[in-house]
């Protein structure tokens, strides 16, 4: 469902992604790890065209990120994104944040959008926080609202960009649990994270990136328990 074809991304003279080839099928739960600057977040952000690519092609459900504006918008509707800093709209309540996508993107009538939003908030365990503004919620709660907001547009794949990195350790678990439930529900997921335990338990595929290339790609349990690649072994020791 997602195909990278020799994708190259540069910032000026810096090569961030170096002719990356990658195929991700529907239903996979891909966990991306790697040292900072290895290109994992950039790779994720190329999928929904928040970053433009300079070489190669990237197809999402058959549509190219290098296509026209409306093609890119359709890709974005099919690929929900969760950010490290949550990025909830501060002027809207939790409920309005979740209803925002359906209302403004899909044109869903207000009443229907709010009803759906209520269900989604209940799903992430925040039914009782519907009328709170983001500033009144904890980081973990904000991130769960952000997940519900992305799900509200009914994406086919969910992109998570270090969803727990900005959270205190005791708040991470509530977000990871929501993500795990989502995975168990069959959602296709691509997760940039340092949560190795999550990768091992929920991931169906682990990708280790280094210097803009995919260095290792395989089953999480095997790679984490017996990393053959010396750089991966070193990286895992640092993260643990």
């Amino acid at each position: 469902m997602i195909e990278f074809r020799k994708v190259t991304k540069r910032f000026g003279a810096n090569v961030i992604l170096d002719e990356v080839d990658l195929d991700i099928e529907a239903g996979e739960k891909v966990v991306l790890i790697g040292p900072s600057g290895s290109g994992k977040s950039t790779l994720l952000r190329c999928i929904n065209a928040l970053e433009t690519i300079q070489g190669g092609d990237l197809l999402v459900d058959g549509m190219s990120v290098r296509g026209g504006r409306s093609e890119v918008r359709t890709i974005r509707q099919e690929a929900g994104m969760v950010f490290q800093q949550f990025n909830l709209f501060p002027q809207l309540t939790a409920l309005q944040n979740v209803a925002f996508g359906p209302r403004r993107v899909r044109g869903t009538p207000k009443r229907e959008a709010l009803e759906q939003a209520r269900e989604l908030l209940a799903k992430v365990g925040l039914a009782n926080r519907a009328d709170h503004y983001p500033g009144e919620l904890s980081g973990g709660q904000q991130q769960r609202v952000a997940i519900a907001r992305a799900l509200a547009v009914r994406p086919k794949v969910m992109l998570f960009d270090e969803p727990t990195s900005a959270l205190d350790p005791e708040l991470r678990q509530e977000v990871l649990q929501v993500m795990q439930a989502l995975a168990e529900g069959g959602m296709t997921m691509i997760v940039v994270t340092h949560e190795i335990a999550f990768a091992r338990m929920v991931g169906t595929r682990l990708i280790f990136m280094e210097k803009g290339k995919i260095a290792v790609d395989g089953p999480p349990a095997e790679l984490i328990d017996n990393p053959a690649n010396p750089r991966l072994r070193e990286f895992l020791q640092h993260v643990h």
């Binding site: 929904n48 928040l50 504006r69 918008r73 359709t74 974005r76 509707q77 690929a79 929900g80 994104m81 950010f83 800093q85 990025n87 909830l88 709209f89 501060p90 002027q91 925002f100 996508g101 403004r104 993107v105 500033g135 952000a146 907001r149 992305a150 547009v153």
Partner: protein, 218 residues
């Protein structure tokens, strides 16, 4: 010296007529300035290169010249250049529109750019076109941040109308000047004029503070 209340009492009708004209110039000028400033600020923040450059030139031209020179140019030079006659009141209003517009453009630009880039990305990532992100995400947040500096500009523009004495518009300062020229009661007249300005700017400040309180600044 003897402070004579009757001098103020006698001058009041003329001064209030002047104050009315001051308010009229300010309100119409600021409404126009808001529209012009919003458009120019939007171009400065997110406009294509050409519109951005035009807006930049406009802001720099106006900020770099005194408002007295601007209104003199509109009233005296423009008719010569473009063969159009402009009455003093129109020239005054135009001067406020153009002058306030430039400062408001900078306020709008600053507020738009101060909105966290992550929020823009969050809107785009949902699949919205950029204009909708502007209308539903960036705009509402920027609007709240505009209010305090905008209040400041409103007060500055209100006081700037006093400079239109140079083209003979009968606003408050001009009225004071004319009365004083007839009766030489400088203390009474300028005290009264100052207090009327204070009442107008004070009312404006108060209204803006109420608005600010009712809107949560994000």
């Amino acid at each position: 010296m003897d402070f004579s209340w009757s001098v103020i009492w006698d001058a009041m009708p003329a001064l209030l007529a002047g104050a009315r004209l001051t308010i009229y110039i300010t309100v119409v000028g600021l409404l126009g300035g808001l529209v012009l400033g919003a458009v120019a600020g939007l171009f400065r923040a997110f406009g294509p290169a050409i519109l951005n450059a035009i807006a930049f030139a406009y802001v720099e031209l106006i900020r770099g010249t005194p408002i007295v020179v601007q209104v003199m140019f509109i009233y005296f030079a423009l008719p010569v250049l473009a063969q159009i006659r402009i009455d003093p009141l129109t020239a005054a209003i135009l001067a406020i529109i153009i002058n306030a517009g430039a400062y408001i453009a900078e306020i709008v630009r600053g507020a738009l750019l101060s909105v966290d880039k992550g929020l823009r990305e969050a809107g785009l990532a949902l699949g919205l076109p950029f204009w909708k992100v502007l209308v539903f995400v960036i705009g509402p947040i920027a609007f709240r941040r505009i209010i305090p500096p905008l209040g400041n500009q409103f007060i500055v523009s209100l006081k700037d109308t006093s400079l239109f004495i140079v083209i003979g518009v009968g606003e408050l300062t001009r009225q004071g000047q004319e009365i004083m020229a007839a009766n030489f009661r400088a203390v009474e007249i300028w005290t009264a004029v100052a207090i009327i300005y204070l009442i107008m700017t004070g009312t404006l400040s108060f209204a803006l503070r109420v608005l600010e309180k009712r809107m949560r600044i994000l």
